[in-house]
């Protein structure tokens, strides 16, 4: 009885946030939102104004009348639509190829025993440490000697060699309970079935993260396309948009319109895939 009393009288440390904590959180979040949204809103505002009305003071955030000329010029006088298609095509191609290659490589490194396995793992880890900028010059000579400069392959092939995805997926696969594959093998599964029917479905959150990461990286890459692609028709968005700057006059309205449109695909991708970020519930497999 005395035990029960001491339990009920004990003040319970509450996990419920207090009013002050909530207020602080909201203030911090509001500040962060303003900091990250302001440039975006400024681009939005600039894209629907005539460039020569840009430098009025105080800045005119919401123009009296919406000016569509920047968008018309973008699609009429530049290769913007082509750059967008190029970027999406290359981004999707790289993402799909990388998912296939990296998942298989990660499975081999995580689950199979073969000669030189540790050496390969270490080599991959070292390769991660090499900065992209250091690779541009040797990569240029390699791609040129392959005769692939100024082609889509010049953008696709080097991106496939990024080892980060293999290492990330490997850690996902390693964390799967080994008894699942043992059980599958005893149930008659071939090594390919273990990979495709057990491993792949269970690392889906990892695959989604990897896909988004790869696509984003490709979507925003600038330095290598600038070096590898000379034809304006094969160019990607990042380099294309920066080429809108001519030598003497910068058409900020045009650039803003292009930048604004360029954010749309990546935003849609995020919205579509965000539910997969929630990790899959593994609790049914193994009793912990």
């Amino acid at each position: 009885m005395s035990l029960r009393r001491s339990f009920t009288n004990r003040p319970i440390a509450s996990l419920q946030p207090t009013g002050a904590m909530m207020l602080t959180a909201y203030v911090v979040l509001c500040f962060a939102s303003i900091v990250s949204l302001t440039p975006f809103l400024y681009i939005l505002s600039t894209s629907i104004k005539e460039t020569n009305s840009l430098f009025t003071y105080p800045p005119d955030w919401i123009p009296a009348s919406i000016y569509w000329g920047n968008f018309q010029k973008l699609f009429g006088e530049t290769n913007f639509a082509r750059w967008t298609l190029n970027t999406l095509f290359i981004g999707i191609a790289i993402t799909l190829l990388k998912l296939i290659i990296d998942a298989m490589a990660a499975f081999a490194l995580a689950k199979l025993e073969f000669f030189g396995k540790n050496l390969i793992s270490v080599a991959l880890l070292l390769a991660v440490a090499v900065p992209v900028a250091a690779l541009v010059v040797p990569l240029f000579f390699i791609i040129r000697s392959m005769g692939l400069l100024n082609s889509y392959w010049a953008l696709i092939l080097p991106a496939l060699t990024n080892p980060l995805g293999i290492l990330m997926l490997r850690s996902f696969i390693v964390s799967l309970p080994a008894d699942l594959d043992h059980s599958a093998r005893l149930d008659g599964a071939s090594e390919w079935q273990v990979f495709s029917q057990m491993t792949l479905p269970l690392i889906r959150p990892g695959l989604v993260v990897h896909a988004i990461f790869t696509f984003m990286l490709q979507y925003t890459s600038f330095l290598w396309p600038l070096v590898a692609i000379q034809s304006d028709k094969k160019q990607v968005l990042t380099v294309g948009i920066s080429s809108l700057k001519s030598n003497f006059v910068v058409d900020w309205g045009l650039i803003s319109a292009a930048s604004l449109l360029a954010t749309i695909p990546i935003t849609l991708l995020f919205l579509a895939l965000q539910k997969y970020f929630l990790s899959q519930n593994m609790s049914g497999a193994i009793k912990g």
């Binding site: 005893l186 599964a189 593994m282 049914g284 009793k287």
Partner: protein, 357 residues
Amino acid sequence: MTNHAIHFEQVSKSYGSFDVVENFELSVQPGEFLVLLGPSGCGKSTILKMVSGIEAPSSGEIHVNGKMVNYTLPRNRDVAMVFQNYALYPHKSVFENIAYPLLTRRASRPSKAETEQRVREAADIVEITSQLDKYPDALSGGQRQRVALARAIVRDPAVFLMDEPLSNLDAQLRDTMRQQLIALHRRLGKATIYVTHDQLEAMTMASRIVVMNEGKVQQSGTPEEVFQRPANLFVAGFIGHPRMNFLTAHSAGGNSVQVGKVTLRTQADAGPAGRPLTIGLRPTDGQYDRAEGNAISGRIIQSEFTGADAIQTLDFGGPSLLRIRKQGHRKDEIGTDATVTFHPKDIHLFDENGARI
């Protein structure tokens, strides 16, 4: 050799210089329920993994149904295994989990209707037909265990391997599942190797127990044999609850031994007088209030109430204390004197090396 379900020939397994299993020899008959019993780390699970093909033996041969399987892939060994942690496929429904072994081999894949029928049969045997549409994470521990069993049953394998399948269940459920596993085995009649460290599971379920320690077989026999005639000190101490009392003693010549100041008559010949021995007395073999037999008198210094009976600790002035089970329980007995008698056949003798005499 062909009529053994499983046959081990000089099987050893070592990791580096550490021997997990040494020269393991065993034959399992068709329909036999063989329990490998031993403390954790004794190599019993490793033996199971070698039969299933998850691990390869370092030397020796393993035969399943008369065929040497050392180099056979797990999928072609005709063995089904129930894992300690169930190893259910979390992204598949219960139905898909049970059906999985039927669908992996394209050549022998049954029709949809037959798959459905066989899954339902297996689910029916373990009574989870109502759960077929659920996913593993929606099931309780006991239900998951049943799904794992059904997945093993559905293939109709030659041999069942079970690796501590009940150890993750609570005590009450373990009781029920134990009885159901016995019934299941009786119904299917398949050779089964069941690994456990729980002597109660081993005693109640096994048609034969193999007691293992440190990678070696200590004793192989029916539950009665290993309980009544333990081959050595390890088996004697491992099997039986409460644990057997071990007292250092020496032979008093012929059929009698000297423990402290007490002389006991034994059934076995204790050898020449003065020979050092260890005697084992099961707490459950001691009888209070009986005139004849080997009497040991002492003072009750502790009494642990366990429900139907009590475990009393007796100080009889010997080399160590003696624990005796007594039916009924009275706290006020502590500090009083008592006399316990043992039948000569209940006095187990072990020589200096720990082997039974």
